[in-house]
């Protein structure tokens, strides 16, 4: 099905990035910290980082997102930012009375080699009155992307807060970067199995909130810190979209430190991946998949059968965070589409190995790590792709190639429904399949001289 491309692994070796397919590590960290109740993200370094990240993240979620900063000036950049950190933490504590401060470093602080853990100990030790846990994570963007910053922040939070204790039946869920709608659905699924879930993290309310009757400085929602503490005694951790070294994941840490069973799974996108997730929940709960979800799976399969002819054999370009790409490839393959170009901006994730393990026929597909959009576009053009699946950043490419773009993941800053898009589970697969099929139908309808209107 898939034609071998001229250069299946990597395009020409460019030193520079041209239209990056990754964001910076502190962004991922801020996103993760926002998913813990009463937590304020704080960036140690230049204030521009907080502003840029807020600007960018807010345009996707369309929700307030406060990120504090230690606002380094030239003196702090040269002599260190201890005083800035002290004043900054004090002000955040005073203004927000937070339950936790998530402290991520910017490139600036990392370049000058700030000993942040030591500074935090000193500064919090000096602070009289209210204090709260400060979770520090090192997030230099010169050695990691937003996907890695996100994982590192979740791991750091668990590292600081998780406690041992008598084993309980709750299941830790490490969802990766998915939409607030996905997170809500995830909670619903686990609850339907009669299990308590501890989402690490859960920004389903904080980043997709309601109109408030009363203004609240700290948006409601997020995983309560007590639940994070209890994650050390949970019966298992399901890590969705697991990739890379387990030591660098929160689930890996909980397993090593507290013996919490670590269940790494691909992101449950599409039937095949979702089945694995539901099977894991069946095992952990000792219950069959509830009828509601079996029905949803049934309807999904029925629609696959009815509509696969519109998507079958179509060549797709998929890009994004490694876990999202891997999940999407699963869905594409199961409906008979050909993921001709699979790309991520993150490096060192073994994307090819994982994709081929899942779908050996993709051995000849163009699978790219650490790439930018110029390279993705070249490969997409060479592959004569029919459909593009990824964030809004692919819009330019889609426009130039004259191919529809189905927006998924993050960032989606040119549509209003980014936070409400479903990707995971049977329900998410249904939405994705419908949207992809409709995009292709619309394309052929628009290009048809007659404009067929019946199926």
């Amino acid at each position: 099905m898939i034609s071998a491309l001229s250069n299946p692994t990597k395009g020409p070796a460019f030193a520079a990035s041209r239209n990056s397919c990754k964001l910076c590590a502190p962004l991922g960290a801020c996103l993760a910290f926002r998913g813990f109740e009463g937590a304020v993200p704080f960036l140690h370094g230049s204030q521009g980082c907080a502003t840029y990240i807020r600007r960018y993240t807010i345009s996707h979620f369309k929700e307030p997102l406060d990120i504090a900063s230690s606002s380094f000036g030239e003196a702090a950049a040269v002599f260190g930012g201890r005083e800035n950190l002290r004043v900054g933490l004090e002000n955040v504590v005073r203004q927000y009375a937070p339950q936790m401060i998530g402290l991520a470093t910017t490139c600036l602080a990392e370049t000058i080699g700030e000993d942040v853990p030591m500074l935090v100990r000193q500064v919090m030790g000096e602070m009289r009155g209210r204090v709260c846990p400060v979770v520090h994570v090192a997030t230099p963007s010169f050695s990691g992307t937003h996907a890695e910053g996100f994982r590192a922040a979740v791991r750091a939070t668990v590292d600081v807060l998780a406690q041992p204790g008598p084993r309980h039946a709750a299941v830790n869920l490490m969802p990766g970067i998915i939409s607030p709608a996905d997170l809500r659905y995830l909670k619903e699924i686990v609850a339907d199995f009669g299990l308590e879930s501890i989402l690490l993290p859960d920004y389903s309310e904080t980043l997709d909130g309601q109109a408030w009757d009363e203004y609240q400085r700290m948006p409601p929602g997020g995983t309560p810190l007590d639940a994070v503490r209890r994650s050390g005694a949970a019966q298992a951790s399901i890590e969705l979209g697991a990739w890379g070294d387990p030591e660098r994941s929160a689930a890996g840490l909980l397993s090593a430190r507290f013996g919490v069973q670590h269940i790494p799974l691909p992101a449950p996108i599409g039937v095949t991946h979702s089945d694995r997730f539901f099977a894991a929940l069946e095992r952990l709960s000792g219950r069959r998949t509830p009828q509601k979800h079996r029905d949803e799976r049934g309807r999904l399969i029925d629609s696959y059968v009815d509509a696969h002819k519109y998507v079958f054999g179509k060549k797709a370009v998929v890009y994004g965070e490694p876990d999202l790409v891997l999940g999407l490839v699963g869905l594409l393959v199961e409906v008979g589409m050909a993921p001709a170009v699979c790309a991520t901006g993150t490096r060192g994730v073994g994307l090819r190995q994982q994709i081929v393990a899942m779908a050996p026929e993709l051995d000849s597909a163009c699978i790219l790590e650490g790439v930018d959009f110029v390279e993705i576009e070249q490969q997409a053009r060479a592959a004569h792709c029919d459909l593009i699946v990824g964030s809004s950043k692919g819009y330019g490419m889609a426009r130039r190639l004259g191919v529809p773009l189905v927006r998924v993941g993050f960032p989606i800053h040119d549509r209003i429904d980014g936070p409400r898009l479903l990707h995971i589970g049977y329900r998410g697969a249904q939405q994705l399949f419908d949207r992809m099929a409709n995009a292709l139908i619309e394309q052929s309808q628009d290009n048809s001289p007659i404009g067929y209107s019946y199926m």
């Binding site: 030193a15 520079a16 990035s17 041209r18 239209n19 990056s20 964001l23 910076c24 962004l27 230049s46 204030q47 521009g48 980082c49 907080a50 502003t51 840029y52 990240i53 807020r54 600007r55 960018y56 807010i58 345009s59 369309k62 929700e63 307030p64 406060d66 504090a68 230690s70 606002s71 380094f72 000036g73 030239e74 950049a77 004043v87 900054g88 933490l89 004090e90 002000n91 955040v92 005073r94 203004q95 910017t106 490139c107 600036l108 370049t111 230099p140 963007s141 010169f142 050695s143 992307t145 909130g209 109109a211 408030w212 009757d213 009363e214 203004y215 609240q216 400085r217 110029v374 330019g396």
Partner: protein, 543 residues
């Protein structure tokens, strides 16, 4: 008679309450109740000082001002961000810069985001080699006429010399390549970045081409960034009046136009904050006088056109300008008459930019709305108090770090556009020759002026004043709207616009009318309706 405003001193104390004593003292200087008792004088405000760590600010960084704002809208220069990936990514088209290349084949690199994507190796061993390679790649790909290099925080700290690399590559490739030391930690806000960007344009670009644009009345437009297509409508308007635009800094701009910017006969400064010093330098070096203009607001647009016409002292031009104004004002007044009854007397607040918070008040005035509080994100004292305050501004460590170029008259190309006598009469006219008024002059008595407003202060203001509309940016937008108050973005225009010139004014009237009067707000029950009681808010007059 407009209802009296609530006691702003009380509001100020209320805002300051949340801060520790030291922070409170600092913020107090940046919050001023407007007074108009002494004509020509405004109360003193503290501005352009560092934001206190931990206070959520609207401000960005030096890099953002340099790369995003000033060079962002120039289409024929390849901009390379030297640093880790975030900075380049976040400045990738996010200011919604628009441009109109003359043909589909013409150069337009604005949609590209080049970054050296620095990795740990380069942080440790230096990134100059990778930067050289990136420049070479950009050159090989596009053969552009110019390449700009923008430094991010790590660059200055690890000691990469972007200027040396630029010089080396300029000699090697034979095109104009120059660097910017605009690391994010420099200065106190994006204003530092504007200055660094403009200095480099002055040093490396302006004056390279002495061939003037054809046309009788040649002007330059400084400080217009083409958000939402503003530059397009201004260009069209000037064209209709028979005025030639030599260069705009930097909306819808090209390096070619910058190179001959000094051949204009008059420079018109719109956003004085970001560029007044360039107008000064061009005047000194090449003899081009500058005046203040403003194309935000129909009245202001008409006034600006008349100023330009008056400067050129040409009856035909004046006649043409008057004709255009008369035609346009008819449409404007019709739209005003339609929207005004639904907006009359409502309150507005503006916290944005270094000139916008001032200029947009004029549009609200035209709608019959009152601005009760306003402030800038990255302004200096002169933007609040007027240019006459410049000599009184203390130079602090942060401003000292921004290079002040020493400029002298160019021995070959200095050409005085007006003689001494004419200069004198221009200076005495109401043309604002080498001058601009501060925002406070145009604001009512007892309004609140707040520099670098914090998130906390914004929330309290909204609770206390319950304005009908709040103008800021995307970072504030959704917090404001949680209060049930519409937020108009004046950075991106919420993907609306243009709002400049007559056409823009009409757009703005309809937009604000819609925002203020849309049905959706009725579904949100605002907190003050629930908790009417003996609170501070209850004591305030609801207009």
């Amino acid at each position: 008679m407009a209802p009296e405003l609530i006691d702003p001193e009380r509001v100020k104390q209320e805002l300051l309450q949340a801060y520790p004593a030291k922070v409170g003292r600092k913020r107090a200087g940046q919050m001023v109740v407007n007074r108009k008792d002494t004509p020509g004088e405004s109360p003193e405000i503290v501005a352009n000082v560092r934001t206190t760590p931990g206070i959520i600010t609207q401000r960005g960084c030096c890099y953002a001002g340099c790369k995003g704002v000033v060079l962002g809208p120039t289409r024929d220069i390849v901009n390379i961000t030297h640093g880790p990936i975030g900075c380049g990514f976040y400045s990738w088209l996010t200011r919604r810069n628009q441009t109109r290349p003359p043909t589909p084949e013409s150069e337009n690199f604005m949609t590209y985001c080049f970054s050296t994507d620095m990795q740990e190796d380069q942080i440790v061993f230096g990134g100059e080699k990778k930067l050289q390679q990136a420049i070479q790649e950009a050159y090989d790909l596009f053969h552009p006429k110019a390449i700009g290099i923008f430094s991010t925080c790590p660059v200055g700290l690890i000691g990469d010399d972007v200027h040396a690399v630029a010089t080396e590559m300029r000699e090697k490739l034979g095109i104009n390549i120059f660097g910017f030391s605009c690391e994010g930690y420099r200065g106190v806000s994006q204003s530092a970045g504007h200055h660094i960007a403009n200095n480099q344009l002055f040093k490396h670009v302006i004056g390279r081409n002495n061939e003037p644009a054809p046309g009788r009345f040649r002007i330059g437009m400084l400080g217009e960034y083409n958000i939402g297509g503003d530059a397009f409508v201004i260009e069209e308007l000037l064209d209709r009046c028979g005025i030639t635009l030599t260069a705009t800094f930097s909306g819808n701009s090209t390096i070619d136009n910058f190179e001959r910017a000094h051949t204009a006969d008059l420079n018109c400064v719109m956003c004085h904050r970001s560029i007044n010093y360039v107008a000064d330098m061009i005047q000194k070096k090449y003899g081009v006088p500058w005046i203040k203009v403003n194309f935000i607001g129909a009245e202001a647009t008409a006034k600006s056109l008349r100023r330009i016409a008056a400067y050129f002292e040409d009856a035909e031009l004046s006649e043409r300008v008057e004709k255009v104004i008369a035609e346009e004002m008819e449409r404007v007044l019709k739209a005003q008459a339609e929207c005004q009854p639904r907006c009359q007397g409502k309150l507005a607040m503006l916290f944005v930019g270094g000139s916008r918070a001032h200029h947009y008040q004029l549009l609200f005035t035209e709608l019959g709305m009152r601005t009760v509080a306003a402030g800038y994100e990255f302004a200096h004292r002169d933007d609040y108090e007027g240019r006459q305050v410049l000599p009184k501004i203390k130079i602090d460590a942060d401003s000292r770090n921004i290079e002040e170029l020493h400029v002298e008259a160019d021995p070959e190309h200095f050409r005085p556009r007006v003689n001494e006598e004419r200069w004198k009469s221009l200076a005495e006219s109401d043309m604002e020759l080498n001058d601009y008024a501060g925002m406070m002059t145009d604001m009512e008595e007892k309004t609140l002026v707040i520099d670098d407003i914090s998130h906390h202060e914004m929330e309290r203001l909204l609770e206390i004043y319950r304005p009908a509309v709040f103008c800021a940016g995307i970072k504030e937008k959704y917090a404001v709207q949680k209060f049930g108050i519409p937020c108009k973005q004046l950075h991106s225009y919420d993907y609306g616009g243009p709002y400049a010139a007559f056409e823009g004014a009409i757009n703005f009237y309809y937009e604000i009318d819609r925002m203020v009067n849309a049905q959706v707000w009725s579904f949100i029950q605002p907190p003050w309706d629930k908790h009417a009681g003996p609170t501070l808010e209850a004591a305030f007059v609801k207009p």
